[in-house]
């Protein structure tokens, strides 16, 4: 399979309404139809329909060889996917959620992340590993981590974080084309979110961040579940005549410095918003890069709005208090333009 250049698809697309969940389901379907090396593997992807119903219906369409139900064995799930990818297949590995992926971290970091470099360039690991991430559903401390920014510390892997239905629909294709391991983090809380997207598959540019809302006063850098929240905040702020540029990182590793820096050079004020714990956050990395590259461009110190550094509480009011919300985002932006 080869990726159509984005330019080719210039004619207007027919648009259909689709959920974030359906976006990934269609992407998996299309990948399987396009490339016989593709298959889906993971716990409950088949008969159950996927723990978040992402693969619902695919078992009936493709059967148990291509939609492979697995035991709860996260480390082996990842490792087998890695092995299969090294021997001619293009597995799409599902590790239900990032919370359980800690059991597979050795495989991701020590195997997938090292093999190409450690073998002197001999062995590629073209595996795609998908998992749900994030809070917002009152699932408590062991089911609500946002660790994708933390994963972005690992060399050798790429980390994608779709924050729109379009990206959810369009990221799998380039991820499968990528010769290196790609992790896709899907926002649990957004599975039911809908958007109008192209009826035919359009691969997304995973090498670049995207300006979701141009603005001139403040740069707001975010991704994933904080993207819609940030867009809401930006609308509120617009009514106060604060013009916020919202950048959706999309790809957390490698980071697209250029898009970030261009915006900062324009607005001179930056807020980074994410749902990860603050200390050691991806936001810290972005702040440090801006410090190093655009220090003299800054009108204000770069600010971060992250999650409280607590295991996620179950109760709704506490969970909401623990992560950025449109109101707290707007308030943080206001402080930057005071």
């Amino acid at each position: 399979m080869t990726l159509p250049s984005q330019n080719v698809i210039a004619e207007p697309q027919q648009l259909v309404k689709m959920t974030y969940r359906e976006g990934m389901r269609q992407a998996i379907r299309e990948a399987m139809l396009r490339d016989e090396r593709c298959f889906l593997m993971g716990a409950d992807v088949g008969r159950y329909g996927g723990c978040f119903a992402v693969s619902k219906g695919l078992f009936d369409e493709f059967g148990p060889e291509k939609i492979r139900d697995m035991p709860l064995s996260e480390s082996a799930i990842a490792g087998i996917g890695i092995g299969a990818s090294m021997n001619g297949m293009r597995p799409i590995v599902e590790i239900m959620t990032v919370n359980f992926s800690l059991l597979a971290l050795d495989q991701i970091l020590n195997t997938a992340g090292t093999l190409l470099h450690m073998s002197g360039g001999l062995f590629n690991v073209p595996v795609v590993i998908r998992m749900a991430t994030g809070s917002g559903r009152q699932l408590g401390a062991q089911h609500a981590h946002s660790l994708e920014g933390w994963y972005a510390h690992i060399p050798g892997i790429k980390v994608l974080a779709p924050g729109t239905v379009e990206d959810m629909r369009g990221m799998l294709w380039p991820a499968l084309e990528d010769p290196d391991p790609v992790l896709i983090f899907e926002q649990q809380v957004m599975y039911n979110m809908t958007e109008m997207v192209s009826a035919t598959p359009v691969p997304v540019d995973i090498d670049h961040a995207k300006v979701r809302r141009p603005g001139k006063d403040v740069t707001l850098i975010t991704y994933g579940s904080c993207l819609p929240k940030s867009m809401t905040a930006a609308e509120t702020l617009a009514q106060e005549e604060i013009d916020t540029e919202v950048i959706d990182l999309r790809t957390l590793r490698p980071l697209d410095n250029d898009t970030i820096f261009a915006s900062v050079a324009k607005t001179h004020r930056v807020l980074i918003v994410e749902e990860g714990w603050r200390s050691g956050s991806l936001a810290a990395e972005i702040s440090a890069r801006i410090m190093e590259n655009l220090f003299y461009e800054l009108d204000r110190p770069v600010d971060r709005l992250c999650a409280s550094e607590v295991p996620m509480p179950y109760s709704k009011h506490m969970e909401e208090a623990a992560v950025p919300q449109p109101e707290t985002i707007a308030a943080a932006v206001r402080k930057l333009v005071l």
Partner: protein
């Protein structure tokens, strides 16, 4: 699946204490049943949120096992643990408040349904990473052993957990060090939507356990008396220092895995078939056939249970929320331990 029914011999001469004990068992099982039926209702009413895993159909296991424990023994459970907590004696009020997310909950409303805790009853959770509580249970038992305490630690797990690497590591270490750990597998035939034969190359779990030189038995998990007897035998064995013990209790989950399960993986008829072996019905019939209970006594149990359940709901409804300012409390301990 086991087809054994509740012990059939006529019990003509039963002491009043024994009779009362039987009523206690029935009371416990009915309490768990009605309590969870109420919880399901409250879930529909959005009073309870997050993941809610019901134990309905499996009540005989927790009820039977707890009979063999002393207050000094420890209990470690999964996310499907309302039954274990209730049977262990944790107050119905604080469990309900916990599920409501109120500060009066047994974990201040931070845990929710999946993370019930009670120090006084040595109830170590409520653990929601499948199988990660097995090492805990071995460690807790090891600590008792090293302190020359005669206690046992019971660890409940689902048959899905058997595939995890930590199962293997924990059984090996428990056996190697002869820790007084009782592993109780609640084999309800499904790991979410995956039937045992699709996730275990050898569906004979006692054979697996025995391969670690762990004493292992399979029992009818719907027969509360069989469970109780097996638990007594296990605890006697454990207290004599002979090392871990493994009980596989065959049962069935009447309800969906959680409130998000469309049950695509099993037929309604299969569920109905299993309901014929409802542990409460089996035991009630047994008691009736042996003239060990009167209808009025059953009604009295139901009435008492209804009052307990209602009281817990009232308690939860009338309880306050945790202060948002307390969000960051207990990430670290506030005072030094003795």
């Amino acid at each position: 699946m086991s087809t054994k029914t509740v012990t059939k011999e006529k019990k003509d001469k039963v002491s009043p204490e024994q009779r009362e004990h039987y009523h206690h068992l029935l009371h416990q099982m009915i309490l768990i049943r009605r309590y969870e039926e109420k919880a399901a209702e409250l879930y529909q009413a959005s009073k309870i949120r997050g993941f809610l895993h019901l134990y309905i159909g499996e009540e005989a296991i927790a009820t039977g096992v707890m009979q063999a424990l002393t207050p000094e023994d420890s209990v470690v459970a999964t996310y499907r643990e309302h039954g274990h907590a209730l049977a262990r004696g944790v107050s119905a009020d604080v469990i309900m408040a916990e599920m409501y997310g109120k500060v009066t909950g047994c974990a201040r409303g931070r845990g929710g349904s999946m993370h019930l805790f009670d120090k006084e009853h040595r109830f170590f959770g409520g653990n929601a990473i499948v199988c990660s509580h097995l090492p805990l249970a071995v460690g807790i038992a090891l600590a008792d052993k090293m302190q020359n305490k005669p206690n046992v630690t019971v660890c409940f797990l689902g048959e899905g957990a058997v595939a995890e690497g930590e199962f293997h590591e924990s059984l090996n270490l428990g056996a190697l060090w002869q820790t007084p750990t009782l592993f109780v597998v609640e084999n309800n035939l499904y790991c979410m939507g995956t039937a045992l034969r699709y996730h275990s190359s050898n569906p004979n779990l006692t054979e697996k356990a025995a391969s670690y030189n762990v004493k292992a038995v399979q029992i009818d998990g719907n027969d509360v008396l069989a469970v109780e007897q097996a638990a007594h035998e296990a605890c006697d064995y454990l207290r004599s220092g002979k090392g871990p013990y493994f009980i596989e209790a065959i049962t069935y989950r009447f309800r969906p895995h959680s409130m998000f399960d469309a049950e695509l993986y099993r037929e309604k008829a299969e569920v109905e078939e299993h309901k014929k072996r409802d542990p409460i019905i089996l035991f009630t019939n047994y008691l009736k056939e042996n003239n060990l209970i009167e209808d009025g006594e059953i009604q009295a149990i139901e009435a008492d249970v209804a009052a307990v359940v209602q009281h817990s709901v009232d308690f939860a409804e009338n309880s306050p929320w945790e202060e948002v300012e307390d969000l960051t409390r207990f990430v670290y301990t506030e005072r030094s331990l003795s």
